[in-house]
Symmetry: C2
Subunit: 182 residues, 2 copies
DNA sequence: AAAAATTTACCGATCGTTCGGTAAAATTAC
DNA sequence: GTAATTTTACCGAACGATCGGTAAATTTTT
């Protein structure tokens, strides 16, 4: 295989996060992935829609393996939190990468992926709420704080794009860490 | 004129906010605006790009007239705050309408509009920071709180789209009001 | 009747998609 | 073990449909 599946996923993800679903054309994919249109169709007979679905599903798996499972795991709560923040940083490449959940929440792709996006977000919020509970918050407050975490991340990633300044994202993670761990 | 300029703006705005820049096609515009392609070109010789620029500029003017000017005006601070929150609700149609600043912060439209978007956001943040100062905050804290207001609005509007639930937006405005005015 | 606004009819380019086919790797048959 | 076969991975060329865009004709307004 000229393009191994790991590289392929990485490149597909980057294109969709940069251009959005509608903004991503097969020509752009060709160029950035390094496979001709026909070859992309060999790997994804369902075309662009299947590629986007694949990328979104893989994002879901990644969050499960790197964030959700950590929250429910058996590390000390402080280590869990550090890991979650680290993985959040990694997930958005320090703010350089947009959130696929936001990018797919528009136009045609909203109808296509809303159910999946909603499920994935809810799953992550619930997991982080579990972690907040370990820090002593009651169930309601934990869920509220976890939701606010997600909201803030999303809002700050919007600001990163709009204002072209990754510190909106990076500063928050640092601030949050010190607030929780001192 | 079959479509007066006020209606035209309203419809153009709705289309771009719903489908994004790349997702908005001339056929969609035709359908939703109620003018044939050639008629749209009669009004906007620059085509789709000019329509989007027009809509974004009008959004900027609207924010100036309805939010920024209120912040710098001479009403009592409590009335200013109420008006700002009201206009924020109106701006996003209670959460039903996406934020054009977010929608245009993707792909091709990011490069096209980033400078304008950045300017408009900065202008609004600065104005609301001024209002916070009237509530007794010092300059730095006021700017921080105003920025956090913008971040939260953006984040919550993302959540509204992703989770299909406008209460993420509406509840915050209410909560914020009671927090500031008791 | 003149001017402005809208429409029909069309254009080349690009869209997502499919077809026909090649080279090489993997599998099966002998 | 090697020859025959099937499968995998890829690509150039073309598909019909739609893209953004334009010129000329028609309708509406004044």
């Amino acid at each position: 295989m000229l393009v191994d599946s790991e590289t392929l996923l990485k490149r597909l993800k980057k294109v969709f996060r940069t251009y959005g679903y509608e903004g991503t054309t097969l020509s752009i994919l060709e160029e950035h992935v390094g496979l001709k249109k026909a070859s992309l169709y060999h790997r994804f007979p369902g075309g662009k829609k299947e590629m986007a679905t694949y990328v979104l599903d893989e994002v879901g798996k990644w969050v499960d393996e790197n964030v959700v499972s950590v929250c429910y795991g058996d590390l000390p709560k402080e280590q869990k939190l550090l890991k979650v923040l680290d993985k959040t940083y990694e997930m958005y490449e320090g703010g350089d990468a947009a959130c696929l959940w936001r990018v797919f929440s528009l136009g045609e792709s909203l109808e296509m992926f809303q159910t999946t996006v909603e499920k994935q977000i809810r799953c992550m919020i619930k997991a982080i709420a579990h972690l907040f509970e370990e820090f002593g918050e009651n169930k309601d407050i934990a869920l509220r704080k976890s939701t606010e975490f997600m909201i803030t991340i999303q809002g700050r990633l919007v600001m990163v794009s709009a204002m072209n300044d990754v510190s909106y994202f990076r500063d928050y993670l640092e601030e949050f860490k010190h607030e929780m761990l001192g």
